[in-house]
């Protein structure tokens, strides 16, 4: 992947019939949203791939939607699409809602809190095109992947949970709980339909179902920088939820 210039030209050719719909679910992300959109525009324009950003805001009380409207004025209604919902209905359904309005044949799912850097999207696109993959998943656990802002305890829990899930589920992907991924649109639609879990653990189920359907999964190492602004909305029941759905998938798939 040397020689940025030639790579971009090649990628442009490879993706000339493709469009990438980037789904951004937001809940109280007014400080992050302008930055993440600015970064997406920066890196997607550089890659010269066709794209759109779909912001799915769940009635954030901090006024995220108002900021999104401002951004839409700056970047255009063809680039930034707003598909808000009345109230907080959760991440899983936010994706379903977003896909319905997506005009691309590929979907990128990422968090809006700046922990997922848009510079990895062109890398995912490239890998997908070269190997005709169904899914490309960002991973913190292999190669140059990693995290920033995690203490020893959080790293230990993360590595421990990852070890156990790999042992029990053998999913064929190293980062199950990460939510920075590129999907073929029809693949994502089919996966979402077949998933039973809701909320945060459904990222894990998606990969397991993908393995069941024999979809081809590729991985791009990502650096995960813990959110700068605002707080994580996922509370303490996270671990319990995780164990429960891991055991469920262990027993049923």
């Amino acid at each position: 992947m040397s020689g940025e210039g030639s790579t971009n030209e090649e990628l442009k050719k490879l993706t000339k019939n493709d469009k990438y719909s980037i789904l951004l679910p937001t809940y109280n992300e007014r400080d992050n949203l302008p930055i993440i959109i600015w970064l997406i525009v920066k890196y997607m324009e550089k890659s010269q791939c066709a794209y759109e950003v779909i912001v799915i805001d769940d009635g954030s009380p901090d006024g995220t939607l108002e900021v999104a409207k401002e951004l839409q004025k700056i970047y255009g209604e063809d680039k930034i699409l707003l598909r808000p919902r009345e109230k907080k209905l959760g991440l899983g359904t936010a994706y379903i809602h977003g896909i319905k309005h997506a005009s691309g044949n590929f979907i990128v799912i990422m968090d809006a809190d700046l922990s997922h850097h848009p510079k990895f999207i062109p890398k995912m696109i490239e890998l997908q095109r070269y190997l005709d993959l169904d899914i490309v998943s960002g991973t913190r656990y292999i190669g140059d992947g990693g995290v920033y802002g995690w203490d020893f305890r959080r790293k230990l829990i993360s590595r421990g949970a990852n070890f156990i899930t790999q042992l029990l589920l053998r999913p064929g992907a190293s980062d199950l709980t990460g939510s920075f991924r590129l999907y073929k649109k029809d693949v994502l639609e089919k996966l979402i339909k077949s998933c039973v879990s809701k909320g945060y653990v459904f990222q894990m189920e998606m990969i397991i179902r993908a393995r069941q359907f024999n979809y081809q999964i590729g991985e791009v190492p990502i650096s995960f920088v813990d959110r700068v602004y605002g707080e994580s909305k996922l509370g303490g029941s996270e671990i319990f939820q995780f164990v429960k759905s891991m055991l469920y998938l262990f027993a049923t798939t």
């Binding site: 302008p34 930055i35 700056i74 700046l114 990693g146 920033y148 802002g149 230990l156 049923t252 798939t253």
Partner: protein, 95 residues
């Protein structure tokens, strides 16, 4: 076959052979000679696996990449983004 069934299957096969070996339903001088180690084999395997698991997890925890550069780069890009967005007319809070 579910992952659970795979584990149950492997465990059943293993324990059938193990039980046959220690109850003496399969006769051989070798089995008699090695009776004690065979008796403790499941426990030994569990302990060995536990040690393996703990060392792997600890090793991976200590070698978990710290993406300092990514964080610095992000901070720089945030500043750049805010300046650029302001120039495009977006009202932003103070840095």
């Amino acid at each position: 076959m579910t992952k659970l069934m795979e584990w149950v299957f492997v465990a059943t096969v293993f324990f059938s052979i193990w039980t046959a070996a220690i109850t003496g339903s399969a006769q051989s001088t070798l089995l008699i000679k090695w009776r004690t180690p065979i008796l403790y084999l499941p426990l030994t395997l569990i302990i060995l696996f536990g040690l393996y698991a703990v060392s792997v997890v600890l090793y991976r925890t200590f070698t978990f990449n710290n993406c300092e550069e990514a964080a610095v780069e992000l901070q720089r890009e945030i500043k750049e983004a805010r300046a650029d967005l302001r120039s495009k007319g977006l009202a932003l809070k103070e840095d």
